[in-house]
Symmetry: C2
Subunit: 333 residues, 2 copies
């Protein structure tokens, strides 16, 4: 196992210490239990927005804590859900009387632990709404998940809902908006290589020298098909066709196209994929009005990518453009 780490048991703690030191203007890292809190939270009258999940997907979620996106993130151990304790602590820390929205990726452990935390928060008179993101069209059920997995769509939901929360939307409106984003977003991923979880010390799966896996999950969960490696354009079409057909997206739709790297994929390759994805969508009459290209929802050092497509309406588009200041996304405050 080749990694720039000290002790596999401490890698999340040490990475959070680095984040705390690097981004002290944006976040503070709390310990026992662990959560990452926006420097300005809680803010009176503002609904708190909290997400979280296993670590190893950085910058998701801690890299999106700050202004205009998340108020707190709960990072679990690598590829393992955070327990209810830190979720409750984060929920209490961001509550300013207007309630708290939980944005939860659809993995069984995450969903259960966020639910438990929400019940405990209710006992403390904190109103919590939870929205489960399940945008991955690859497989119906999977290792760790009943129903579809939550992947790239989560970043878009966090940005759009976070912007609405900044503008003072109430909890019910934010939950409705988050559900609307989830209802209009679809994703699918693929991998060229596996990744190695530090405490496991060996790759999560094996792929032949000339093989790729289509429809893979962000923890290396099996996808739709293992097959010979193809050119970038063919890969893009394999990911994009089921994404487009699932919603379905259609001619005249205005979209946000998100080409996401799995962590070990060079930016150059993501732009090669983006170029072709835009052409394929144009052929179908689907307009790309906004985009995101980069490594945002990763699987440690896995090489591969996912494509996420969001059907935008005027409100989502306006909220996407709103100022954001976080470690991993920032513009225009």
């Amino acid at each position: 196992m080749k990694k720039i780490i000290n002790d596999p048991a401490n890698v999340v703690d040490e990475a959070l210490a680095g984040m705390a030191a690097a981004h002290a203007d944006l976040i503070e890292v709390h310990r026992d239990p662990h959560y990452v809190l926006a420097r300005e939270a809680p803010r009176r009258g503002k609904v708190g927005v909290v997400s979280g999940g296993g670590s190893g997907h950085e910058p998701l979620h801690a890299g999106f804590v700050g202004f205009g996106m998340l108020d707190a993130a709960c990072p679990g151990p690598v590829f393992t859900s955070p327990s209810p304790d830190p979720i409750l602590a984060a929920t209490m820390a961001v509550d300013a009387g207007a309630g708290v929205l939980h944005i939860v990726k659809n993995y069984t452990g995450d969903v259960l632990n966020f639910e438990t935390a929400a019940e405990l928060a209710a006992a403390e008179d904190i109103e919590v709404e939870a929205v489960v993101i399940d945008d991955d069209v690859a497989v119906r059920d999977s290792l760790y998940t009943a129903g579809r997995r939550g992947v790239g769509g989560t970043v878009l939901a966090e940005k759009i809902v976070g912007a609405a929360a900044e503008r003072g939307a109430d909890l019910a409106s934010l939950a409705a908006l988050c559900r609307r984003v989830n209802a209009n977003v679809r994703s699918m991923g693929m991998a060229l290589t596996p990744c190695t979880v530090p405490h496991a010390g060996k790759p999560t799966f094996e792929l032949g020298d000339n093989e790729m896996e289509i429809g893979i999950g962000i923890h290396g969960e099996p996808g739709r098909e293992r097959m010979p490696l193809e050119p970038a354009n063919a890969i893009v079409e394999r990911l994009l066709a089921p994404v487009v057909e699932d919603l379905p997206f259609g001619s005249g739709d205005r979209t946000l196209l998100f080409v996401n790297g799995m962590g070990g994929t060079p930016l150059m390759e993501l732009y090669v994929a983006y170029a072709h994805a835009g052409k394929v969508l144009a052929q179908r009459g689907i307009g790309v009005e906004r985009r995101l290209v980069g490594n945002y929802v990763t699987s440690l050092e896995m090489q591969g990518m996912s494509i996420t497509l969001l059907r935008l309406d005027d409100e989502m588009l306006d909220l996407w453009d709103a100022p954001v200041q976080t470690a991993a996304l920032r513009w225009g405050r």
Copy 2:
């Protein structure tokens, strides 16, 4: 070779097409010869700032074209210098009568081709100054380079000088500022894995399962030492000690600490390294006032990192904080 590409011969072109489509608000990509031009360039009265070099180090340099950084970038083939033609074309395109600054990484081909382009520009009555960045302390001479290589310090020079150009500094002042940045910045890198140049199809070098290379260049050029893998903290100390001792940095210095990934390194590992680097500097009385953590000067999918330290003065600090809007760095415009 596992990559998300179509044809190794077209990978740079296709990636640039993707960049052009994704960032049409910031840049336009010109062909025959190839260069990436800021959407707003040329601007009357403003000195043009141009950089470039072999591709495969993305987001360097095209990802830094826009507002407050570069006016143009000249991407060569993968790991190969751009020829004088595109450099001349970019220089002419950004010139608005106030002259053009070339920021050149110290590789023999880059230096020669930028020099030739500057001579050709002079024949067109365009005043050009060139500053060569040579911040890598690892080795004195190297494959492709007489003297020290230019690496991470280039990003910091482009940001600081770009901000000064935005504020209307003249060519001589910008060149002096760029030399001052170069005189105060030092870097060193390491690799856990090699990378594969698309048209070569095989790794640039071999590293054993438990080996790392300290002092490596961004094209996989040999470094100081190949040795058994060590924990993150020991690696950080191996990179930071020669960086600090070379300038030397000393107690009371205010610095910008840049922990850069080589392309295939997860963000989590870069934050682990950042945490320890900050501690080591604090022990020496060196203050970290600004920082950058991420994959900014890469070697395709290489796993590894470099550490860059810049001694800040008040002017550099103020220029670092100035607004910037590019594909890869953006804040506060």
